[in-house]
C-alpha cells in the first residue's frame, strides 16, 4: 500500500510514460484481438453474404458459368418466387410435417420424463442413454436405415403388416388395407409425410425427454408432498404441479422443435431419394431451395426464395413469441 502511493507520487519519466501509453493501447485493443477470429469468420461467412444475397436476388446467375455470367433482372426473381405454386406447396409440406412430428414428440416426451424421474437412478440412467441414442446418430444414417425398413418389397414395416393381416387375431383390423399391401411408404404421395414425420419423431423424442427430465428435477419434492396431502392423485399432481412449473422448459423445447423443423432437409431428402419419390408432398422448403439452386442452377431465384422465406419465418416467429414468449419465459 505504502510503496504504491510512493510510485504514484513520483514524477513520471518519459520512457515510463511511453510504456504507460503502450499499456493503455494494449488494454484497449486486447479484447478485439481475442475476438479477431470471430470478426473475420463472421464477417466473411455471416455479414458479407447477406448483402451479397440482396444483390444476387435481383440477378440471374448460373454458378457453373462463374461470376461474370450474372445478369440483372430486377424484381423478376421475386415475382417468380411469389407466384410459384411449388414454393407455397413446399412451405405447406414443411408445416404439416413439423406438426405431425413435433406435436407427438412433446406428447411422448412429457410422460416419458415424468415416469423416468419416478425410477431409481440406475434404471433411469440406462433408459435415458437408450432414448438419447438417436439424437447423436447422423440423420443420414438413420434415414438410410428407415429407408430400408420402409422398403416396399422387403421392408420390415410391410412384412409386419402382411403378417398381421393374415394372423387370425388381427386380420379383421387390417382387412381394410389388405388389398393395398405392401404399402409404398416412401413412394406414395399420401404416405410420405407420415413416413418422414415418424423418423423425425423417433429421432428427437429422446432429446425432449432429457430436457423435461432436467426440468422435473428442478421441481421441489415438497410441492408434490403438499399436493399429496391435499389429496391430489398422480394425474392431478402431473397436471397441476409439474405441468405449470415445466412451462419454461416446454417453451424452450417447442422453440427448438420449430427451428429444427423449419430446417428439415436430410430426412425427406434421403427418404425420397433426393426428391425422386413423392415429389409433391414430400418436399420441404429446404429441399426445394436446394433443388432450385443446385439442380436447376438458378441461384438468383434461390436467393429471392430465401428472402421470401426470411420474411415468412420472421412473421411466424414474431407471432409465436408474441403469443407464447411472455408466458413461456415465466411472465418476465
Amino acid at each position: 500500500m505504502n510503496s504504491e502511493t510512493v510510485i504514484s507520487q513520483a514524477p513520471v519519466s518519459a520512457p515510463a510514460q511511453k510504456a504507460e501509453q503502450r499499456n493503455h493501447f494494449k488494454e484497449k485493443f486486447t479484447p478485439y484481438g481475442f475476438l479477431m477470429p470471430y470478426f473475420i469468420i463472421y464477417g466473411v461467412f455471416g455479414i458479407f453474404p447477406v448483402f451479397f444475397m440482396i444483390y444476387l436476388s435481383f440477378h440471374l446467375w448460373n454458378p457453373v458459368e462463374g461470376l461474370g455470367s450474372m445478369e440483372f433482372v430486377g424484381l423478376e426473381n421475386y415475382v417468380l418466387g411469389l407466384t410459384d405454386p411449388t414454393l407455397w406447396q413446399t412451405m405447406w409440406n414443411t408445416l404439416v410435417m413439423a406438426i405431425l412430428s413435433g406435436v407427438p414428440q412433446h406428447l411422448f416426451a412429457l410422460p416419458l420424463a415424468y415416469f423416468l424421474v419416478m425410477l431409481g437412478s440406475r434404471a433411469r440412467h440406462w433408459l435415458t442413454t437408450a432414448y438419447f441414442l438417436p439424437y447423436i446418430t447422423s440423420t443420414v444414417a438413420v434415414s438410410m436405415i428407415f429407408y430400408v425398413m420402409y422398403s416396399k418389397d422387403s421392408g420390415i414395416f410391410n412384412a409386419v403388416l402382411l403378417y398381421l393381416s393374415e394372423a387370425p387375431l388381427t386380420a379383421w383390423i387390417l382387412s381394410g388395407i389388405k388389398e393395398s399391401l405392401p404399402l409404398g411408404w416412401v413412394q406414395e404421395n399420401s404416405l410420405i409425410r407420415y413416413s418422414v414425420s415418424f423418423v423425425v419423431w423417433w429421432k428427437y423424442v429422446g432429446f425432449n425427454t432429457v430436457i423435461y427430465t432436467a426440468g422435473l428435477a428442478t421441481i421441489s419434492q415438497d410441492l408434490y408432498e403438499a399436493a399429496k396431502i391435499d389429496g391430489a392423485n398422480n394425474w392431478q399432481r402431473f397436471r397441476h404441479v409439474s405441468l405449470p412449473l415445466l412451462q419454461p422448459f416446454i417453451f424452450f423445447g417447442v422453440t427448438l422443435t420449430i427451428i429444427g423443423n423449419m430446417n428439415l432437409f436430410d430426412e425427406p431428402f434421403v427418404l425420397t431419394v433426393g426428391g425422386q419419390f413423392a415429389q409433391t408432398n414430400g418436399k420441404t422448403i429446404s429441399n426445394y431451395l436446394y433443388q432450385v439452386a443446385w439442380q436447376w442452377l438458378d441461384m438468383g431465384s434461390a436467393a429471392a426464395i430465401s428472402w421470401i422465406l426470411f420474411v415468412v419465418i420472421g412473421i411466424f416467429t414474431a407471432i409465436y413469441f408474441y403469443l407464447f414468449g411472455r408466458k413461456g419465459l415465466g411472465g418476465e
Partner: protein
C-alpha cells in the same frame, strides 16, 4: 370388505399402474433401439436372403461378402477418414476461437461489446437454411469449393459455444488469478493460454462434444460444396448409393452401421457428459 382386502386392492392398483409405466418405458426403449439392431442384422444378409426372410431376427453369414461389396461400391474408408479429419480439425479450431471470443466477452469491458452480443443472439435466430446460398457463394468466390476447409471453418465460431465459454469464464475463472498473472508480467495471450484455458476444461469438453457431433453428422454443407469422390464425407457417400441400380442393401447397411459406431462408442463411455453437453443450451 375387510381392511386387508382393501389394502390388497389398493396394492394391486398401484402394481398395475407401475406395470403400465414399465411397459410404456420399455416399449419406447425397444422402438428406439430396434432400427440400430435391425441395421446390424441386415448387414449380415445379402439381397437374396433379405427378400426371402419375412420377419426373422436370425443373423446371416454374408458379412464378408457385404464388406467387399461395400468397398466396391464406395471409397468407404476415405469417407470415414475425411469425416474424422474434418470433425477433429474443426472441433479443435472452434475450441480455440470460441474460447478466445468468450474469454474476451467475459473479462474485458470495451466499446461495442453489447453490439457484438446483439449480433450473436440475432445470428442464432436465423435458420441455417437461409444462409445456405450465401454460404455457397462465399465459398466459391474464395475458391474454397471442394475443400474440407469450407466444411469446417465457417462453423468454428458457434455463437452458442461462445456464450457457453463466456458463462464458464464468469463462473470459474477468478479475477484475482488474472490480476496476479498480469502482475507477474505474463502477456495477455499467455494469461489466456496458460491460466485460463486449463480452468475451462469442463466447458471446453462440452463444446467439443457439441461440435464433434455436429461436424461428424453434417450432411447439407458437404453436399453443396464437396463434389469429388476423394473429398466426400461418409454421410454423402452413404446417401450416394441410393441411386445405384440393384443396390446391395446388405453392404449399405454394413457401411451405415460402421459409420455410426465411432459416435456410439464415444457415447457408451461418456453418455452422461454427452447428454448434458448436447442439452446444455436448453437446460442451463
Amino acid at each position: 370388505m375387510t381392511q386387508s382386502q382393501a389394502t390388497f386392492i389398493v396394492n394391486l392398483y398401484h402394481k398395475a399402474g407401475k406395470l403400465v409405466v414399465y411397459i410404456f418405458l420399455g416399449l419406447f426403449a425397444f422402438i428406439t433401439i430396434f432400427p440400430f439392431v435391425w441395421s446390424a442384422i441386415l448387414a449380415t444378409h445379402d439381397r437374396s436372403t433379405m427378400f426371402a426372410r419375412g420377419i426373422s431376427f436370425a443373423l446371416g453369414d454374408k458379412i464378408a461378402q457385404n464388406y467387399s461389396n461395400l468397398l466396391e461400391l464406395m471409397d468407404f474408408w476415405t469417407g470415414m477418414l475425411n469425416s474424422l479429419s474434418i470433425s477433429v480439425i474443426g472441433t479443435s479450431f472452434s475450441l480455440i476461437f470460441c474460447s478466445m471470443a468468450g474469454y474476451a466477452l467475459a473479462t474485458y469491458k470495451f466499446k461495442g461489446r453489447n453490439a457484438i452480443f446483439g449480433v450473436m443472439v440475432g445470428s442464432m435466430m436465423i435458420p441455417p437454411i437461409l444462409t445456405l446460398i450465401p454460404y455457397y457463394m462465399v465459398i466459391s468466390t474464395l475458391g474454397l469449393a471442394n475443400t474440407h476447409l469450407a466444411v469446417w471453418l465457417p462453423f468454428t465460431i458457434n455463437p452458442f459455444g461462445i456464450f457457453l465459454i463466456r458463462q464458464y469464464v464468469v463462473a470459474s475463472v477468478p479475477k484475482d488469478i488474472l490480476e496476479a498473472s498480469k502482475l507477474d508480467g505474463a502477456s495477455e495471450w499467455r494469461t489466456y493460454w496458460q491460466i485460463v484455458l486449463p480452468l475451462l476444461r469442463p466447458g471446453l469438453a462440452t463444446l467439443a462434444i457439441v461440435q464433434f457431433v455436429f461436424l461428424w453428422n453434417n450432411f447439407l454443407n458437404p453436399l453443396v460444396v464437396l463434389n469429388s469422390p476423394e473429398k466426400m464425407v461418409i454421410t454423402q457417400m452413404l446417401r450416394g448409393v441410393q441411386g445405384v441400380p440393384n443396390t446391395p442393401w446388405g453392404a449399405v447397411m454394413l457401411g451405415t452401421t460402421i459409420s455410426i459406431l465411432p459416435l456410439i462408442a464415444i457415447y457408451m463411455t461418456a453418455s452422461k457428459q454427452m447428454i448434458s453437453g448436447l442439452t446444455s443450451g436448453a437446460v442451463k
